[in-house]
Symmetry: C2
Subunit: 194 residues, 2 copies
C-alpha cells in the first residue's frame, strides 16, 4: 500500500508538471528534464511510469479528459427534464473550466493541435456520451434544434473554452454574472424558439 501510494504520488506529480509546463511553454518548449525537475524526480524515473514523452502527453490528456467529463456529469441523471439537465451540465462544465483552469487549458491545447495521437483523442471523446444522449432526447421532444451534435457542441459548449483561454491571458474575467449571460447565449443558440 505504502509503496503503491508513493508511486501514484510520483505519477501524479509528473502529470501535474506536464500540464503546467505545456500550458505555459507549449509542447515544443517543455523538455523531459524540466518536467522531471518540477516533479522532483530524476529524468530517468519518468521512464518507469511512461514509455516516452509522447506516451506521457497522451496519457495526461486521456486522464484529464476523464476527470473533466466525470465532473461534468457527476450530478446529472438522465431522468431530468432536458432543459434542466442541459443547464446543470453546462454549469458543471463552466465550473470545471473555472476551478480546474490549468486542466481545462491543457485540454484546449490538445484539442486544437496535433500534439496528441489520434487514438488518444478518440479515447477522450467517448466519455461525452451522456450529453449526446441528452441532446437526442431534446431533439425528439422538440426542445432542441434539430442540429448535429457537432453544431450543438460548437455553439453551446465550445465557447466556454475560448472564454477560459482569454481569461487566462488576463484581458477578460469570466465571473458569475458573465456566466449567467453566457449560459443564456448558449441556450439561445440551441433551443427551439417558441
Amino acid at each position: 500500500m505504502a509503496k503503491l501510494q508513493k508511486s501514484i504520488d510520483k505519477r501524479n506529480a509528473l502529470i501535474k508538471a506536464t500540464i503546467e509546463l505545456v500550458n505555459n511553454n507549449g509542447f515544443h518548449a517543455t523538455p523531459m528534464s524540466k518536467i522531471a525537475k518540477m516533479a522532483n524526480v530524476s529524468p530517468a524515473t519518468i521512464y518507469l511510469y511512461f514509455e516516452n514523452k509522447q506516451d506521457l502527453v497522451n496519457k495526461t490528456y486521456v486522464e484529464v479528459k476523464a476527470e473533466y467529463t466525470k465532473y461534468a456529469f457527476a450530478t446529472y441523471d438522465e431522468t431530468m427534464p432536458v432543459e434542466a439537465g442541459f443547464k446543470l451540465i453546462w454549469n458543471r462544465i463552466a465550473d470545471f473550466k473555472l476551478k480546474e483552469c490549468e486542466n481545462a487549458m491543457f485540454l484546449a491545447q490538445c484539442d486544437n493541435t496535433p500534439m496528441i495521437d489520434e487514438q488518444s483523442r478518440q479515447e477522450g471523446i467517448k466519455h461525452l456520451q451522456p450529453l449526446l444522449d441528452l441532446w437526442e432526447r431534446g431533439r425528439q421532444e422538440g426542445i432542441i434544434k434539430p442540429l448535429s451534435d457537432y453544431l450543438l457542441y460548437a455553439y453551446a459548449i465550445n465557447p466556454l473554452s475560448f472564454l477560459m483561454i482569454i481569461q487566462k491571458r488576463g484581458v477578460f474575467t469570466l465571473d458569475k454574472a458573465h456566466l449567467e449571460e453566457a449560459y443564456q447565449s448558449a441556450w439561445s443558440s440551441i433551443k427551439v424558439c417558441q
Copy 2:
C-alpha cells in the same frame, strides 16, 4: 523588380511551408530543415528572410491573421444595417475558414497555444475593430444583447473555428446547409429576442 519578385516568392514559399508543416505535425515536430525542404530552399536561406524560428512563426501568424480579417471585411461597409452587416461578415469568415482551411487551422493552433509571442498576438487582434464597432452599434440600437465583445465573439464567431477543426479531422462536413444552420445559431445567441 525581377530580383525583388524572386525574393517574395521564396518568402511566400517559406510561410506556406510553415503553415502546412505546423498544421500537420505541430510546432514541436517541424524542424527548420523540413520547412526549407518543402520550400525548396536551403536551411540557411530561411535566415535571410527571418531572424530565427520564433520570428518565422510570429510573422506567419501576423500575416495570415491580416489576410483573414481583410477577407472578412472586404465587402462590408459600416453604413449597412446591423443585422445585414453581421450576416455578411459572418459568412465571409465562414467562407474564409472553408476556402483557406489551412490558413484558418494555423490561426486556430496559434490562438490556442503559447506558440506565438504575446506581442504578435496583440498585433493580430487589432484588425478586428470593424466587427467590434458593428457590435457596439448593434447594442446601441437594441438589436444585439448587451454583452461584452468577448462573449459575443465566443458565441458568434469562435464556434466556426471548432467546426473547421473537426471538419479537418474528417468526422464532420461543414457544407452550405450546415452553414445556414450555424449562422442561425450564431445569430440566435447574440440577438435580442423580440
